[in-house]
Amino acid sequence: MSSSRDDYSKFTAVDAEIVGISMNHPLSQKAFSDFLKLNFPLLADFPDGKTTQAYGVFNADRRLAVRSYFIIDKQGVLRYKKVLAPKEPLVENEALIAEVKKLQ
């Protein structure tokens, strides 16, 4: 999240916006956002995780969202999906920006 904050201008430079979603309570989300001074919104898919389930990244055992990335184009079409396996490293921002550029 902090790397997304630091690279936010690189995302907006390619006409992309960042939205973070988790199944935490809205208060927890707000605290996390304030604590890290995030410059993009965090949304709380709380308590049922309907959006998380709709995107196929709901971990039913732990009742949380699996770390994952989605890129949606300007027409609202899902064009990129990456779901991380346990302990798999995060996707670099440069790689995400490259994926956005492919859509332009």
């Binding site: 997304s4 995302f11 006409d15 992309a16 916006e17 960042i18 939205v19 973070g20 979603i21 988790s22 935490n24 309570h25 809205p26 208060l27 927890s28 707000k30 605290a31 996390f32 304030d34 604590f35 919104p41 898919d45 998380t52 995107y55 990244v57 969202a65 699996v66 770390r67 994952s68 990335y69 989605f70 890129i71 949606i72 184009d73 300007k74 609202g76 995400l96 956005v100 859509l103």
Partner: protein
């Protein structure tokens, strides 16, 4: 889950204002942040040192000073004596302190608490779930909650809670109807 959207729309947060109440200046306590969306404090239930379950809603009707702490936290140790003094001055005037120990063994937490001769209520969040809920990413964290259970302000880090400014702030809050 992380969503990177090429199209983004979001609604602005509602910034409700208190109506009919004198404004409270939270900035008198350094780094204390007013929480302007006036959200309700989420309820929780945790055991106290005797094993009795205590819920946040038990304190509805009082101004609640909700503090998260741990024995390893030097800053917590630094501020706790001032919290105790604050508690002794205001506990009969509408203030309650609830100190949530985060992710520690019960004997360790209680030994620390006893050593500092604290009398305000402590509850034990052994799994850290309530700490996560309230964003206790760094300790200490303190929330001020009004008599109706609304979140008023939050501070990450320690404060001198018995300073004239902090006592003045708490006095203003307990005097609000």
């Amino acid at each position: 889950m992380f969503l990177l959207a090429a199209v983004f729309s979001c609604c602005g947060a509602v910034n409700a204002q208190t109506v009919g109440k004198p404004p409270i200046d939270y900035t008198v306590v350094p780094k204390l942040q007013e929480l302007k969306d006036l959200a309700p404090a989420p309820d929780f239930t945790l055991p106290n040192p005797d094993g009795r379950k205590v819920s946040l809603k038990d304190f509805r009707g009082k101004v609640v000073f909700l503090n998260f702490w741990a024995t390893w936290c030097e800053s917590c140790r630094e501020e706790m004596p001032s919290m105790e003094r604050l508690y002794r001055e205001f506990k009969g005037k509408g203030l309650e302190i609830v100190a949530v120990n985060i992710k520690e063994k019960r004997p360790d937490a209680l030994a620390f608490y006893g050593k500092l001769q604290l009398t305000y209520p402590v509850v034990l969040d052994s799994e850290g779930e309530v700490g996560l809920l309230y964003g206790a990413f760094g300790l200490p964290v303190t929330y001020l909650i009004d008599r109706k259970g609304t979140l008023l302000a939050r501070l990450w880090g320690p404060a001198d809670w018995y300073s004239p400014a902090a006592r003045g702030l708490i006095k203003s809050l307990v005097e609000q109807k």
